[in-house]
């Protein structure tokens, strides 16, 4: 177990370095002048030069990168936005709850629809439900997130007027004029984004769960369970499900980790101020510290969820406990 943790730790550092270095190199290659943007429209060349120096943009790229690493390790700081001088830590702290609400709520939605459909269509392959599920899957896989989001916003939000079309409300109650907050408002405003996520992911998960359940149903130990005299439902719940959920856990961990790094399109369509829309905005403004900050956060999210997957795996499958 210790060996496993050490290995995992070094892997995480390596992943982190690669991701941030690539981000820096991309920004170095793009011909742009962040100092000019940071300074504003009415700047003299002298002031621009001053700004450039204060943002360390005059240093070679490897020194800038070193400075970024140093600040992060020494001060746990991701630096300051070029655009408005705000702390990147603060920006991310503001945006994470939005993206996290979107992703975790979406995951609950897509799992609660894909697990039952996946299992039922595995038990009755080629039935009407199975075929219906297949159509649903094809729509989900073929349609882009933006399109699904816009259609939902137009039909459910605008035409039917059942839900808000856009914006986010805080989960925890906050006071203030013109702000909405509280769990009910939070969920009410997030329904459409969650539905969008559900369409996107449920499709794949239905297929994945269906395939895994069918494969497990044909295992020898399932035949053994039936030969023991277990009923079909007992066979399904006690012998099939846990074994068939192993691959689903892997994919789920990866998807959630990745989506936390920014559900770009869904946030964009529903005007949610999360990491995804922040990433687009900052990239447009050449705001390197914010972009790198989000990359760092995404790395950490992916690493944490991969670790959680491993823990879940060891819990689900006793064969893994000995080999780690």
């Amino acid at each position: 177990m210790l060996y496993f943790l050490i290995r995992r730790f070094f892997w995480a550092i390596f992943l982190f370095l690669v991701a941030t270095i690539i981000t820096y190199i991309i920004f170095y290659v793009i011909p742009s002048d962040p100092a000019h943007i940071a300074c504003g429209t009415h700047c003299t060349p002298q002031i621009v030069a001053h700004v450039r120096k204060s943002l360390h943009l005059d240093l070679p790229i490897y020194q800038q990168y070193w400075l970024f690493l140093w600040n992060m390790i020494k001060h746990q700081s991701l630096g300051y936005s070029y655009a408005d001088g705000e702390q990147v830590n603060t920006i991310i702290r503001q945006d994470v709850p939005v993206t996290a609400s979107l992703v975790f709520g979406g995951a609950v939605f897509w799992l609660s629809i894909s697990i039952p459909i996946g299992i039922l269509s595995a038990l009755r392959p080629r039935s009407i439900l199975d075929r219906f599920g297949m159509v649903f899957v094809l729509i989900g896989i073929s349609a882009p997130a933006v399109w699904i989001g816009l259609i939902l916003a137009y039909v459910v939000g605008f035409k039917l007027g059942w839900t808000p079309i856009a914006t986010y409300c805080n989960l925890l109650p906050t006071s203030g004029v013109g702000t909405c907050s509280g769990p009910a408002e939070w969920a009410y405003h997030l329904i459409l984004p969650w539905m969008t996520f559900m369409f996107l992911f449920a499709a794949l998960y239905v297929r994945l769960i269906r395939a895994n359940v069918m494969e497990t149903m044909s295992e020898d130990y399932v035949r053994t369970a039936r030969a023991k005299g277990a009923s079909s439902s007992r066979v399904l719940f006690q012998h099939v499900l846990r074994n068939s959920m192993l691959p689903v856990v892997t994919i789920l961990g990866m998807d959630i980790g990745l989506a936390l790094g920014g559900a770009v399109f869904t946030e964009f369509v529903f005007n949610l101020r999360g990491l995804g829309s922040q990433l687009i905005q900052s990239a447009n403004r050449d705001d390197l510290p914010v972009v790198v900050g989000i990359v760092v956060f995404a790395c950490i999210a992916v690493i944490i969820f991969n670790f959680l997957v491993d823990v879940a795996y060891a819990w689900l499958d006793p064969r893994i406990r000995l080999s780690t």
């Binding site: 053994t224 005299g229 064969r319």
Partner: protein
């Protein structure tokens, strides 16, 4: 009345390529306490026959007809609930591959207790006590601690003992063993067979030993069923079958059996492949591989008929009694001759 009486059992699987005739017109009986050996190649229908009578073939893809009477009661086509009461309690079953036949994510204690709790109204502690008891009976060392291990912590032979324990934990009247030793190495095979014989004496259950190993049959069985192409081609008491087999496929099987008392330069083999059950040969299914086939064998399926010994020994072959006797005598002589030349 026989304990298990199978009459004209047919199993057909619908596939995309057509209908697979896995089992055709199979009839036999199993008396309580006796051992029936069922021999045949892979794809001869021997496993499917017993999966069918246990109701373990997928009903959506299989058409089943005929009659299976267990203890006087028709169980073919019985409801799921009725079958669940019989499976695991009155008929136990063990399978070929012990490595994959136990659930990998459940402790073996859990799996044994499940078998008890499914059929008996007892507490968990009582179920666990019985599980430990049966593990001791199948000679698993340190049964009271090993009960909390997972299947992957056992060797193949030990897992097969667990499977046997699980099949016998409710004292069934019949144990169906589907190639229980095929996946094991030879020394372990011998141990498992000895264990099964011992348990049969103690529990008094009937055993159906499905195998392709004639050695196993010779050692354990009272009666033998030889299957080929989904049909019974010969059935006899074990001594009759070995001393006077009546049809060419059985001759081939006996000829391919390695024997230490006969030093033959080379084992005989049956040429060709097992027949396709999707497009079986017309007439006798064995005719493409039979050295003695003549016109009638290609046209007409031989009936299962009684030989010289009487109803106890039945076989399918168009060859006349004289011809068969002559061929078998010659075969016996050639086996003997091989011995002579080697000496």
């Amino acid at each position: 009345m026989a304990l298990l009486e199978v009459t004209d059992l047919n199993t057909r699987f619908r596939t995309d390529d057509g209908i697979v005739k896995a089992v055709s017109g199979v009839s036999f009986t199993v008396e309580s306490g006796e051992t029936l050996g069922v021999v045949g190649e892979s794809g001869s229908g021997k496993s499917v026959t017993f999966l069918t009578l246990m109701g373990l073939v997928d009903r959506r893809h299989a058409e089943v007809s005929g009659s299976v009477r267990f203890d006087g009661q028709e169980i073919l086509g019985a409801s799921g609930k009725q079958l669940q009461k019989i499976r695991g309690r009155r008929i136990g079953m063990i399978f070929q591959d012990p490595m994959t036949s136990l659930n990998p994510v459940k402790k073996i204690g859990w799996q044994l207790e499940e078998a008890v709790l499914l059929h008996n109204d007892v507490t968990h502690d009582e179920a666990r006590r019985r599980a430990i008891e049966i593990l001791k009976e199948v000679e698993i060392p340190k049964a009271d601690t090993r009960i909390d291990d997972y299947p992957h912590q056992f060797s193949g032979g030990m897992r097969q003992r667990v499977m046997i324990a699980m099949a016998l934990i409710n004292n069934p009247e019949v144990l169906i063993a589907d190639e229980p030793t095929t996946a094991l190495d030879v020394t372990t095979q011998a141990q498992i067979l000895r264990l099964m014989t011992k348990l049969q004496e103690e529990h008094g259950m009937a055993i159906v030993m499905i195998t392709h190993d004639l050695g196993v049959v010779a050692e354990l069985s009272d009666d033998v069923l030889v299957m080929y192409g989904g049909r019974v081609v010969e059935q006899a008491e074990v001594d009759d079958l070995f001393t006077k087999p009546e049809m060419p496929y059985t001759w081939g099987l006996l000829g391919s059996l390695p024997r230490l008392d006969i030093t033959s330069a080379r084992l005989e083999q049956i040429p060709g492949q097992p027949p396709s059950l999707l497009h079986p040969p017309s007439g006798c299914a064995f005719n493409p591989r039979c050295a003695y086939a003549f016109d009638r064998c290609h046209e007409e399926l031989p009936e299962l008929r009684a030989g010289a010994v009487g109803e106890g020994h039945r076989f399918r072959c168009h060859l006349s009694d004289d011809e068969r006797a002559r061929i078998w005598e010659a075969k016996k002589a050639s086996l003997g001759a091989a011995e002579g030349s080697a000496a």
